[in-house]
Structure formats: structure tokens, C-alpha cells
Symmetry: C2
Subunit: 340 residues, 2 copies
Amino acid sequence: MGVVVSLDESRSDPESSLNDLVALVAGGMERVNTTILSRTGSAVTMIPEVAQHLIASGGKRLRPILTLACADLCGYRGGDGAVKLAASVEFMHTATLLHDDVVDESDMRRGRVAARIKWGNEASVLVGDFLLGQAFRMMVEVGSLRALDILSSAATVIAEGEVMQLTAAKNTETSEDEYLAVIRGKTAELFAAACEVGPVLAERPRAEQAACRSYGMNLGIAFQLVDDVLDYGGTSASLGKNVGDDFREGKITLPIVLAFRRGSEEERTFWRRTLQDGVIEDGDLETALNILRRHRALEDTTERARHYGAMARDALALFPNGPVKTALLQVVDFCIARAH
Amino acid sequence: MGVVVSLDESRSDPESSLNDLVALVAGGMERVNTTILSRTGSAVTMIPEVAQHLIASGGKRLRPILTLACADLCGYRGGDGAVKLAASVEFMHTATLLHDDVVDESDMRRGRVAARIKWGNEASVLVGDFLLGQAFRMMVEVGSLRALDILSSAATVIAEGEVMQLTAAKNTETSEDEYLAVIRGKTAELFAAACEVGPVLAERPRAEQAACRSYGMNLGIAFQLVDDVLDYGGTSASLGKNVGDDFREGKITLPIVLAFRRGSEEERTFWRRTLQDGVIEDGDLETALNILRRHRALEDTTERARHYGAMARDALALFPNGPVKTALLQVVDFCIARAH
């Protein structure tokens, strides 16, 4: 089977470990993209403008890809159910991004000026609400109450995770467990739900549903942890573009949680001044990177990500081998290899 | 039947025209209130705090009352379906209010400081999202795909109406039709959906579903038009507390649409300066009230509200007479009598 790429090969180029899965679901994703375009349409012209500004700016569409792949893995050969749920998942994700930008007061998103800068906070809040509404309409069209249950619960859990992050924000005493609870909610839950609806659509037994959910949940945690590492330039910890956004926004992520606990009193004073009090001076980012390096905080965060990646792989063990399963296992490599 | 109050009596005291309906659904509303309290619960303590700040501050809960009443009118005697949908409708309304405060940058809501002032814009956006998620979860529990379709479509239409208002904001050239399109979306659609799910739960024929929807839609339009009149002190147009909020925020409402079209060039210059350019000087609100009075803009907006109220009444004509129908007709009087 030409789609199997050796793990060593895939480790050398993160993108290549995603290619197989992308190729396997290409037909479905074309329909997802068409659906996304048609469902952002509205007579109120500002809505497609704002929605497509963000949607057209790319992103890998990893979540809808996972929905299609997990449906495929479970033998779903139905009509457009998986396509509509995949589009719903991407809309839920996009709505979250629009609302996050308002919450974080971000200026940039995916390398483009944030929608809230171009059209205002109002538009970001309301177009996010519109996309959430459209997501639910599509789910209702699919007509699976179990899928609706999973995705509506996810919407609640995501918001809970975000509020939790708000409460934990700038608190340098945040524990690893507290941080994990935040990212389970704000990031991993949507990965989990995106995967879980696949077996549900295919009407497979609970065990397969739980397996896909577990795969998505652990993959999502690994994904977010690596994102946290990347925000400090990856484990090479070199100063590149966009490095240090989390630091400047005073975001407490796992590298900081680890470095704070392992650090000296002097270092803790540094973290409190910069992250808690938001007093950031020239050279502080370099100091932060030095402290993270001293405590191996980025390497160990990546190590933690590997742990969740391993759980994601094991979750799929009950499925027979095949190209989709192989490609889903490679996605774990993709997520982790980005850290380097 | 002791619940029937003559229309003349009810006209003299707006609140009394609502009392009968409130009494008829009191048992159900007690369960709705319990549901609302339990479904705002979360281990993330900020969520119940923010949600209950707004929910506890009252409001008449007209929308969930309408859901219970329309279910009752259609003979629904099921379990807790109507209660859960009524609570969902109130959550959708509360989420909209939380997001509106961020969009409008409001400082006050229902006579209390707005949640966004006390907990920040972030909390208002995210707790709104949480409540929307909970609303959908409850709908899913009820398990009626038709009800889910109606309410998820409403969520989309409400967001569309709000974005439309954003686009029309401060544009003094807005036509009456454009303004009606805005309030159909942002206000009347939720009234319509709240009423429409009643007959759907009771599995009544399409004609009853359409009748309840039409009642809710026209009642909602009348309700919003009277709200617009009240913002200028009602048809008595006296300067009381909270009078002129819309004016200060540059909101174009029907009284302004009418006065602008009927006005002199000098008056139009005044509206453009105050509403479009936001340059408001001492005495401008009095001037605005004088112009509105000169063109009978508040009386005629109330007249328009009466027209939609009449349509709401007629929509119910196909239902046999009974206490619930009588009470629903009185709600129309309640909405319009507030204008005085």
C-alpha cells in the first residue's frame, strides 16, 4: 500500500506525516470545503466577509479531517452525514477562534490581521454566534441525536475550558493538573468530539466510540502542548518570528508551569513580574528562554506531549490495520514532530 | 373562569394583562426556574456567578412563558419537554444579552451593572457561549429534531439580525423595511421560535405550528417597537430615568426613521450630527424629543406596534377559545399598553 510512510521518514518532515491522511480523505474534504463556503453565505454581506477572512486564511482543517477519517475507519459509507458534521466541527472551531480573539485582544490570527481589528469586536462576536448557529443547523440536518449530544456537550465544555483559563490567567502558581484541565476543555474536547462522531455515524459499538474519543482527546492534548512549545520557538528555542506571543500576553502554559516549579526564588520573581504583573522590559524574552532552557522545560513539555501521543496511538489498537488507521497513527507523529 | 380579565381593565394596567398567563403556567415556570439554576451550575465558579448575575436580575421571562403557554394551548401534556425547551429559550436569550453588552459596550443591563463591567468582556463572551451550549444540550435531551431545527435556525437568524443592525448602525437613511428586517431577526425570531416549539412538541399539524410562529413573530415585532418608544419615555415623551439611551448610543430605531423621513433639512442635519457623527451637546435630547413629538413619531411607532399586535391576535383565531388563548391575547395588550 503506497500510503504507508515509515515513521523515521515522517519524523524528518512533519508535514509528510499528514499527507497520507489528507490524501485518503481528499474527496470528502472537497465536499466539506464546498459546504463551508455555502453555509457562510448570508444576505448580510458582512457575515461571509468576516467568516471567509478567517476560513480562507487556511489552517490545516485537522479537525474536520479527523471526523472524516474516523467515520471512514469505522466503515461509514453513508451519504453526506460525515461531510456535514465535519463542516460543523470546523465552524465550531472558527467560532471559537473569533471569540478568542476578542477575549485575548489579539491583533493577528494565522498570519493575517485578526477579524476584530478589521471589522471590530462586535462583528467577531456576532459572526462567531452565526457560525455556531449554522453548525447546529447542519448537525440537526444530519439527524443523529447521539452526534448532536456529543457536539453540543463539546460546545459547553469548550466554553468552560476557556473560562477556566481566564480564571487561571496570569497565575504563575497554576499546577500541571489545573493546566491540563484547561487544555482538555479548550482544545482537546473538540478533537475528541470530532473523532467520536465518526463511529456514532457508522452506528458502531460503544467501545469503538470510546476508542475514537480517546484518540482525539489525547491527540488534542499533545497538539496543544506542542503548540505551547512552538510559541517559544520549539525545543531549539531560537528567536524567530512570532516567538513569545504567549509570554507577552502573560499566558501560563506548561513550559512556564514546569519552569516556575523547578526555578529559584529569583526566577519566580522574574515570572511574577513579567507574566503576573505584565511588566516586560527589553531582553526579558531572552531571559525567559534561558530559564526555560536551564530547566529543560520545552523538552519536558514535548516529552509530556509524547506521552499523550502514545495514549492516542494505543486507543486505536482495537481497530484492524489498514491505510486509514496507519494514517491516523502518523498524525500523532505529525503533531509531535512540529516541536522540533 | 376567574382568569378572564376584560380588555378595558387590562389596558389601564399593563402588568395585569400578563398576570393571567403567568398564573396559568406558574407550575411549569417553577420547574423552568429550577432547571435554569441547575443548568448554570459548573465547577468553574465564574460561570454560575456571571450567569446568575444576569438571570437573577429578573426580566419577566416572557419567552419561556410563551413556550409553556403555546405547548399548553396545543394540548401538550408530556413530561419535561416543554420545561427544557422553555429553559433553552431563556438561555439563548441570556446569551444574546451577554454578547449584546459586549457589542454595544453597555455599562448597565436590567438596572444592574452589566456583567462585562464586573467580570470583563471575556467573561461575557465565554459565559454566553457556555449558555448557548447548555441550551443545545437541553434541546438534544428533549430529542425532537423539529424543535432542534427551529431553535438552531433561530440562533442563526438572531446573529444575522444583530450583524444587520451593526451594518445599519448610525445610518439615518435606514428605511422602515430595513429596520423591520433587523428587529425580525434580533428580537422577533426568538419570540416566534419560542412559540413554534409548543405545537411541535404536541405533534400538532403544520397549520397550528405556523399559527403559533406567526403569533410569536408579530408579538415580538410589537414588543420591540414599544421598547423603542419607551426608550424615549413612551408616548407621553417625558424625561424620566433611562430615557434616551438609544439616542446617546446613536441607535436608529423606528421613531428616528419616521422623524428623519418626515423632517426638515435642518432636522435631518440635527439627526446626522447627533446619531451619525455622535456629537451630542447639552439640550440635544430635549430637541430630539421635540422633533419626535412634532412628527408624532412615538405615537405612530405605537400605531405600527398595534398593527403587528392585531396580526398576532388574528394568528390565534384558529384555536378554540379557552383560558390559555385568552391569556395569550392579553399578552398582546400587555406589550402595547407599556407604551403609555
